[in-house]
Homo-oligomer: 369 residues x 2
């Protein structure tokens, strides 16, 4: 582990480094800054699986021509409250950031704004884009499909992505509610970590190629699949399946992107498939002006009351307190801003190798706290 | 069990009976027909917990003056794509049916329509209203909060309702995708049935007043609570909590209804609380015109492909086939239209007693198949 600089330096050094690497691949400066901000936000918020770990594949896919470095997203359909956007195979974070801006613009005039995106790529953490709405006194919504890995209830095949959903809701003096979660029973990253450490995984998360429950985290590398949120039918996996299905349809069928098993891989070492039914990866964004429903101050005060009610809920035996959606990520961010961002050795080596290849000075070690 | 008439008669006899009972309580004929349709749809679709079982409480609450029989919902706020509706304490199905009509109207002009509702009551199955959008080539969305029974992750207190979400999505030649599910780990009705039969319940669904896991289905009658979808933190209950929270906020904070622990009871034997922070129960509805995003035919054909892909997914070991969201309810409906609707003795007795009280001829026995 490398503990990056304490205080505010770490973020700046990281941002400059990521931006320099992306610019060397032909990404315009303003777009490179967005990608760096999204990846570093994931690190700060304690979701390293969607942070700098992704930079290597983003850059490999740029260098292989699988992602366009200077793509301009193009509006292909609209109504007063909707837009459909062709991401033109650009970097996911750039396309998503722009799509959410459009949703916010539509909401300014129509009360709500909804943007379906085709032909995009892996975009990092969904919560980042949902939170773009907060400064506008809007509720932000963001979802995406993802490469297939999760099996529908009663199926042995991983046909769906972990299809995350994020919702960000502003409050008055309390901190906003930010829910950001995958609709699978467990994150791939956690499974891989157990596998790497030779540890078994509890039943209820994974299955083998026949659809039998498996406690071997290595099963995913041998055709196994992750179960939907709920795990088994008995514990409600059909609800996780329903959510993942709705997110897939909103992201891909409204936009004309690829759905379910056809979503392109988000890693550079997996080949692209031919004859896909749609274009790239799909996302869906929403923005709702709170004053399109109620005077903004009334809404914000009610949200404060909501948050305090749940924060002050009696804890269960053995628990210290009850959390509000967004608390764990906020607390991770506070911690990381004090102690620095921990970076895994593997990621550090990836970045060093990218710096070598692209002739960018490697500046991470100088940041060790 | 009473098996109601085979063929189409059953539905007509039931509808006439329910409508007559409601009219005796001052409900206008056109509204009574809607309530009957919603309750019978729940029976047909295999969700009797939200069917005729609810009629007794609906009528008791009308007779006690807790629900207004002839309320007219009133628009209190709007933007091009949004409406906030005061249900004026009317019957939930009447308010919800009207709210969804408004969402559809807004979508006609704005591309999408979103309606937040305050001051409403228990509305039956969420899927009914989401499906109103299908005939308009729109995606329908419906959610509601409900009386508190479900504990947030890490809390011992049942502060949230089972807060269901329904999404209905049209297709071309395939049947529509209709997801309709509660965000709790298990339905109250299933717990009560085990309790009645003296059977234990598996761990992972319920907890006692201290927040300790419980296998006693009677715990709910002694201050216990249901866990969110996922069950425990390890198996993702924080995701179920996030969903229930978002549904509560959309339903109550956008509209000005009561949230979380303040949602009024949906049964007549529980007293109303004083000093509530909002008005009645809250709902939230959405309608999205598919051609606001893409030419309608393209969307519908893609949906057919989506549905066939998932229907034809390889089944897991021991499973016959993979289902599409909406299949179980559709199959229940087909079965019930052939063999009749099974009505529990308890419900039959409730209806007989209502018929006595309200001087309506009791016609169910004549329908026995």
């Amino acid at each position: 582990m490398l503990f990056l600089i304490k205080k505010m330096y770490g973020e700046i050094i990281l941002s400059k480094l990521v931006t320099s690497l992306l610019r060397k691949c032909g990404v315009p400066a303003s777009d490179a800054v967005i990608v760096a901000d999204v990846l570093i936000a994931a690190e700060l918020r304690g979701i390293p699986s969607h942070g700098l770990l992704r930079l290597y594949d983003y850059i490999e896919m740029l260098r292989k021509g699988r992602i366009k470095p200077d793509a301009n997203p193009k509006l292909i359909h609209e109504s007063p409250s909707t837009v459909t956007l062709d991401g033109n195979n650009g970097l996911g974070p750039v396309v998503a950031h722009y799509a959410m801006k459009l949703a916010i613009q539509k909401a300014e005039t129509a009360g709500t704004g909804w943007v379906a995106v085709q032909n995009s790529n892996h975009f990092g953490i969904a919560g980042y884009y949902a939170m773009q709405a907060l400064a506008h006194n809007m509720i932000g919504i963001c979802m995406t499909n993802a490469n297939p890995l999760v099996a529908p209830t009663f199926s042995s095949a991983g046909l769906m992505g972990t299809n995350p959903l994020a919702v960000a809701i502003p409050a008055a003096s309390e901190l906003p509610v930010v829910a950001d979660f995958a609709t699978a029973a467990i994150a791939r990253g956690k499974v891989d970590l157990l596998h790497k450490n030779g540890l078994p995984i509890d039943a209820g998360f994974l299955q083998d190629t026949q659809g039998n429950s498996s406690t071997d985290p290595g099963i995913l590398t041998r055709g196994g699949s992750i179960l939907p949120l709920g795990g088994s039918r008995k514990f409600g996996s059909h609800k996780g399946y329903c959510m993942a299905a709705a997110i897939d349809i909103f992201s891909a069928i409204l936009s004309g992107a690829n759905f379910g098993p056809f979503v392109p891989p988000s890693v550079s070492w997996l080949p692209l498939k031919d004859n896909l039914p749609g274009k790239g990866t799909g996302h869906f964004f929403g923005a709702m002006r709170i004053d399109a429903f109620r005077p903004a101050d009334d809404f914000l005060e009610s949200m404060d009351l909501w948050i305090r009610t749940f924060k002050n809920a009696p804890p269960a035996a053995g628990q210290e307190r009850v959390l509000i959606p967004g608390d764990p990520e906020r607390e991770a961010e506070q911690r990381h801003r004090k102690t620095g961002i921990p970076i895994q050795d593997k990621v550090k080596e990836q970045i060093r190798s990218l710096c070598n290849d692209l002739e960018v000075p490697y500046s991470l070690d100088s940041g060790t706290g």
